[in-house]
Subunit: 113 residues, 2 copies
């Protein structure tokens, strides 16, 4: 295998590892929402009203399984549940900045706004 | 709307614009493959053998519609088709670097390799 092919395969593997965790329409937006601090289910949902509660629960569970977020239950009346980023989740910050920058660039280039 | 909420909404909009274009399991890997130069269908497919030809065609078409790649047809015997990144596609470079870096970090943290 030529060195460029090896380099390409290495980059593809790392990128696909990342994509496995953050793929889909909602996981990155949920992480972005939590970069603004610990939030409850309803607060996250308000940030992306077009997601169904069922899908939001599913994606929160997957992010928790991948150790990107933590879920804390407070045994009070009523019981409350809060979500926050783990250090691993916070380490997505640089990627989120580039994603936002590229989104702005794309909108300007394509939509002209 | 509080300023942090406004900032959060702004960031979510930009990120969702970007995700609309690069979402899914294959579009980023296709772009990574093409950062190594202009390629034919078969060469891209060799970089990700687990994608079906039908899915690869579909994702190439979507990337072309979003002006991330160009498709050039050479009317020779046999006819050949080549794909390459547009300047807009090349502008994904910073995002790809951060995605690869995070993928390596995630693998080390979670898989320990």
């Amino acid at each position: 295998m030529k060195s460029t092919e090896a380099a390409c395969q290495y980059e593809l593997m790392a990128a696909r590892d990342a994509l496995e965790v953050i793929q889909g329409k909602w996981r990155i937006p949920i992480v972005i929402s939590l970069t603004y601090g610990t939030k409850r289910f309803g607060e996250i949902h308000r940030d992306m009203p077009d997601i169904s509660p069922k899908m939001l629960s599913q994606e929160l569970k997957s992010l928790e399984e991948n150790q990107i977020i933590t879920r804390t239950l407070y045994d009070r009346m009523p019981v409350t549940v809060e979500y926050s980023l783990t250090p691993l989740g916070q380490s997505l910050q640089n990627l989120l900045v580039e994603l936002r920058n590229w989104g702005k660039h794309f909108r300007k280039e394509i939509v002209g706004k």
